[in-house]
Amino acid sequence: MGAALGGIGTMAGGFSTSSAGRRDPVALRIGLTVVAVGYLLLFIGLPLITVLTQALVRGVDEYIRAIEDPEAISAIQLTLTVAAIAVPLNMIFGVAAAWCVAKFDFVGKSLLVTLIDLPFSVSPVVSGLVYVLVFGAQGWLGPWLDSMGIQVIFTTTALVLATIFVTFPFVARELIPLMQSQGQEEEEAALTLGANGWQTFYRITLPNIRGALLYGVLLCNARAMGEFGAVSVVSGHIRGQTNTMPLQVEILYNEYNFVAAFAVASLLALLALVTLSLKSLLEWRFRDQIAATRRH
């Protein structure tokens, strides 16, 4: 996410300086635009089109049949379930973490900030493996969990855990800089006016971070539904049980069932498009709040 947003920022910066200040030669401007747009088309547009055409190569009926396949339905349900658990939890965690970091000083604050960033710097496969190491049959807690009759690895629980780990920075990262820049004067004002803690949060803090929060949740959701690496390690690939959509795509593809693979993939691509348009909408609606988070 960081790289993508950084890219948007740099592009906007580039345009504004060239139009406001010195004039670049026309040829250079056209050349750069062609390179940028061409690059995007080649590496992002083309694959997207391929996914859709491949999915529909044998007609709409075949496409619908591929999606209505019980295993595909189960994968879709599983993906939605995992996201429905992981995203709200990470939303709560993100708000709580950002609140502590932005509004309080405590020992270990910088450690907490570093830990929040950890999933961004660790390969998702590694985080999946860590869960296997902790909860697996040969893992630290494996035998104990086994004796209790609880299985974690190769179940939905493991998928949720792995997804939470991989996606927990999104909300917190969006909120921390914003809440830091807003300070706590408004909250203090609310307290002196007689508001209690909950009223202060609900009526003052939440409205002030609403845009950035929605934005973070959106990114978190996109990643939760699309996550492959960590989920792949802990899933066990049990058909119709622990295969999420990305995993289902891989299985179908490896079985040379291209139409079905691309059909499921097209749903994920659709999710990406919806996410993108919602993101643009939010960026436009809450441009002030989001601009504040970019300053840092």
Binding site: E185, E186, A189, L191, T192, L193, G194, A195, R203
Partner: protein, 347 residues
């Protein structure tokens, strides 16, 4: 019935923000907490509001122990330096907030809140602005909304943190006069923090001057201006010139110029004298006095202001109220006679 502060202490790490503060604010009084930045005045205000917990000492307000109460229970109106208006609410919603968040049993009905907001809007001269957002207001208007919002909860104590700090000079002066009038009408016990001595002396019934977490002096503007308790107060209230001198058993010596001060009999050693600009007389160089050279002369204003350079390189400012005793020409040699001054021996 008043606010009594006793031996209040507050530390931030190794820094003593409040170092045994004792102060009394009388009922209905408008008190200024004046001091340089870092003197602890804002911390004191925040402790009074309950936004900071003191480490020690006590505060009683009308006989009640204030420290035992939390921010909400104290119900003190607090006006923040940067207004802290709720940016997502309209002016009317901002002002009504304190009533809106009351528990159901004590919350006034909608109509009453609306009426109260209208009253407050007209009190702060912002009629018809209720539907605007804070970002659509000027600095002075925002400050008045912040004040109306604090007054909405009918506080018994009003606390203002640098209320004019973020405003330009003209608006500041207008708002100051207006606040003075408002206070006279309402008679609400108020404490305001400022680092601007002119503001404090103009506005307050009494001024408390703070330095390094302690109250240096508290008194009416006249008292603190006319008889500053110590060198810091003299220095901080401004308009005072610092003159190096030596005391020799009741004789104050400025270089060759000597003044007898019987009250300093028995005191000897190096000292610093403070003399206000209007208390320094300029006389011809041939007369007794501290030798000085005339620098810039500022003729705009009610009385000429003269910059003078002493032999040791120090600058002195004099305000010439009567006909000058010597021609005020740039570079001319003159002598200075401090008519009234306070001497503080070096410790």
């Amino acid at each position: 019935m008043s606010l009594e502060i006793n031996k209040l202490t507050k530390t931030f790490g190794a820094f003593w923000a409040l170092d045994g503060v004792g102060l009394e604010v009388r009922d209905g009084e408008f008190l200024a907490l004046l001091g340089p930045s870092g003197s602890g005045k804002t911390t004191l205000l925040r402790v009074l509001a309950g936004l900071e917990q003191p480490d020690g000492g006590n505060i009683s307000f009308n006989g009640e122990n204030l420290i035992a109460q939390n921010v909400r229970e104290r119900g003190a109106g607090f006006v923040f330096q940067h207004y802290a208006l709720f940016r997502h609410m309209t002016v009317a919603q901002n002002i009504g907030f304190g009533l809106q968040v009351r528990p159901k049993e004590t919350r006034p009905p909608k109509e009453t809140i609306k009426k109260r907001v209208e009253e407050l809007l007209s009190l702060v001269q912002l009629e018809g602005m209720g539907k605007r957002y804070p970002s659509q207001l000027s600095g002075g208007q925002r400050q008045r909304v912040a004040l109306a919002r604090a007054l909405a909860i009918e506080p018994k104590l009003l606390l203002l943190d640098e209320p004019f700090g973020a405003l330009d000079a003209k608006v500041r002066k207008e708002l100051r006069r207006w606040l003075r009038r408002l206070h006279r009408e309402m008679g609400l016990t108020s404490v305001f923090v400022t680092h601007d001595q002119e503001e404090a002396l103009d506005l307050a019934d009494r001024v408390a001057i703070m330095n390094k977490g302690k109250i240096e002096q508290a008194g009416t503007p006249q008292e603190v201006y006319r008889s500053p308790a110590n060198a810091f107060v003299y220095d901080f209230l401004g308009g005072a010139n610092k003159l190096d001198c030596v005391i020799d058993n009741g004789l104050v010596k400025f270089d060759s110029y000597e003044v007898a001060r019987p009250d300093l009999a028995g005191v000897s050693g190096k000292a610093t004298a403070y003399a206000r600009s209007e208390d320094i007389a300029i006389v011809p160089a041939t007369m007794r006095g501290i030798p000085a050279t005339i620098g810039e002369v500022f003729l705009a204003g009610p009385a000429p202001r003269v910059e003078l350079k002493l032999a040791n390189g120090a600058f002195v400012e004099a305000i010439v109220r009567d006909a000058p005793g010597a021609p005020l020409d740039y570079g001319a040699q003159v002598a200075l006679q401090p008519q009234a001054f306070r001497v503080f021996p070096e410790t």
